[in-house]
Amino acid sequence: MNIIVCIKQVPDTSEIKINPETNTLMREGVPSIINPFDLHALEAGLQIKERVGGKVIVLTMGPPQAETALREAISMGADEAALLSDRAFAGSDTWATSYTLAQAIRKLGADIIFCGKQAIDGDTAQVGPETAEFLGIPHISYIRKIEEIKDGYIRVQRLMDEGYDVVESSTPVLLTVVKELNQPRMPSLKGKMAAKKAGIKKMGKAEIEADENNIGLKGSPTRVKNIFAPQVKAERKMLAGSPEEQVNLLMEELRKVKCI
């Protein structure tokens, strides 16, 4: 079974601060990490390989330095890695990114494709489903458990608002995963050695035979108009007194704003 895991190198958004003067992000010293959800996607791929055999290919689209993320994935157990990098991919939105990934996946070939449910920088959760559409294959989002997998068939649990659905699908299929699915493993010593030596397959627009009109800014229907800092919450009220008094004050406040 050929398993492709799509990963993204992202800034650790929990470490990001806003410059209060310019209202812009301060990236200084913010580490680049593998998108946390993608680690669960990789773990899912590795577990399936261990169960039914096959190989796991990690794929990322990003700048040349995203190679670090691929090597980290190899140290966790991925067999091969491919880096999609080209100046022509500049300014890709989710539509163009998905098109580009789909073109690469076609070249690599896959029975199952795993993605994290979303990346923590963009938070869109759109690239997985859009990629499946470009590939002409089904997808299932928010996978929390894989119940059964055999040739041409998969049955999973999909997280919904009030519980979960049990969903079956033919393969090839694309699955986006939530962190409840598994606990990602740590890199092994053997894996770290392999990561150092591993060759990374480089792919640009020519290798994936991309249509110029569908990639980069030109291929992207959306535009970022501007970026601004979120509004800060109105002033807070600290309630004082004994527990009883605090609760009474709170009830009063809530009654005033007609919430209770």
């Binding site: 800034p11 958004t13 992000l25 049990v166 992207s220 229907p221 109105a234």
Partner: protein
């Protein structure tokens, strides 16, 4: 369009480097250089103290991809149902959709799949002019393929200028397929939608980078302009018992799906976990101390008619299941009231709940960051405060 650096003006101060949200600026021979990861957000232009960065207007080959954008007029919303009942988020979409349609002088259309005529009538009373209804029982359960097929067909026939859906597990799963198929833009999880007065384009505002920044997104050259909308942010429309509208019954030739829902399981323990639609959430963190603490929170939630949420710490401890988790790796919520009990307020938690209307923080530690986003703060022991509060609420509700 592209962004360029005037090399003679650039002093190499690196101000732009650290402000770039996309890590797209590097230093080359002491000057700023913009690489391919530029998203054209123009932040660097605004921060450069030397005015050395500027926007290059290229002779546009970005002619409208669609021959006549003006053919696309109306506003269409996708109305979700759960077990045949119209979901709350649909009424919110009708609220914002009605406002946008009126501003554009256009009609408000709705698509309802897998529900009955009564649901369609409800949508009209809440603001829709026209409802496209497909009552086929095969559409009652959500599968991506048939939902995408039917919605794409309606969009192709009706040519709406704007398409909105809820940023729910359903909307965020199949709407991207529709956008990919229609070769148009889709903006995820919007918290504000406005019409640009001049261009009449839709200004789509959404949080990114874990809620650290907001971005305004446009889809200027493609139609429809599609967005998923965060539940519980938009106000519901106005209900009018006497409003009339048209119901169009869709009869798709064949309904096919490569995926199939074979079972739907509601989460056990009887506590509702529908955090997205809850008006009141009582959430616990490490300070709740264990299942006992969560029992108290559950009692308060029940008294208030709310649901129980949790921080990642509490979920990791195994006190409550992941489906209750609020925050960056859990759910993003915005109820009317969020009661944070024994939650210190790590930024990953804050981004998941800070847009709640009223935040009540109860924590022993007066320095806890949760107080920085709180509307009301109580420094104290939740094991004392919560039972008192539950009692008061019960008294009030009982009378």
């Amino acid at each position: 369009m592209s962004i360029a650096v005037k090399l003679d003006k650039c002093t190499g101060c690196e101000t732009c480097l650290t402000s770039c949200p996309f890590d797209a600026i590097v230093m080359k021979e002491g000057k700023a250089f913009i690489n391919e990861y530029c998203n054209y957000c123009k932040t660097c232009i605004s921060v450069c103290p030397e005015g050395a960065i500027y926007e290059v207007e290229e002779i546009s080959n970005l002619k409208s991809q669609i021959s006549n954008l003006k053919d696309y007029r109306d506003v269409l919303i996708f109305a979700e149902q759960r077990e045949g009942k119209v979901a709350q988020v649909a009424f919110e979409l009708l609220g914002v959709g009605r406002r946008l349609a009126d501003e554009l002088g256009a009609k408000l259309l709705a698509v309802l799949l897998g529900a009955g005529e009564s649901g369609a009538k409800e949508l009209i009373k809440w603001g829709a002019d026209k409802v496209f209804l497909c009552s086929d029982a095969q559409l009652q359960k959500f599968n991506d393929d048939p939902y995408a097929d039917v919605l794409t067909k309606v969009i192709n026939e009706q040519k709406p200028s704007i398409v909105l859906a809820g940023a729910t597990p359903i909307g965020r799963s199949f709407i991207p397929r529709v956008a990919a198929r229609l070769r148009t833009g889709l903006t995820a999880d919007c918290t504000s939608l406005e019409i640009d007065k001049e261009t009449k384009n839709l200004l789509q505002v959404r949080p990114a980078f874990g809620g650290n920044i907001m971005a305004t997104i446009l889809c200027p050259e493609y139609r429809p302009q599609m967005a998923t909308v965060r539940p519980r942010v938009m106000k519901r429309g106005e209900y009018d018992e006497n409003r009339t509208g048209e119901i169009i019954n869709l009869k798709p030739d064949n309904i096919n799906s490569r995926t199939k829902v074979i079972d739907t399981v509601k989460e056990s323990s009887g506590i509702s976990v529908n955090l997205h639609e809850a008006e009141i959430i009582v959430a616990g963190g490490r300070g709740a101390g264990g299942e006992k603490g969560f029992k108290l929170l559950e009692e308060l939630a029940q008294a208030l008619g709310g649901v129980v949420g949790a921080s990642r710490a509490a979920v990791d401890e195994g006190w409550i299941s992941y489906s209750h988790q609020v925050g960056q790796t859990g759910k993003t919520v915005c109820p009317n009231i969020y009661i944070a009990c024994g939650i210190s307020g790590a930024v990953q938690h804050l981004v998941g709940m800070q847009s709640s209307d009223i935040i009540i923080a109860i924590n022993k530690n007066p320095e806890a960051p949760i107080f920085s986003v709180a509307t009301y703060g109580i420094v104290g022991d939740l094991f004392e405060i919560i039972p008192l509060l539950t009692k008061k609420v019960k008294e009030l509700r009982g009378s």
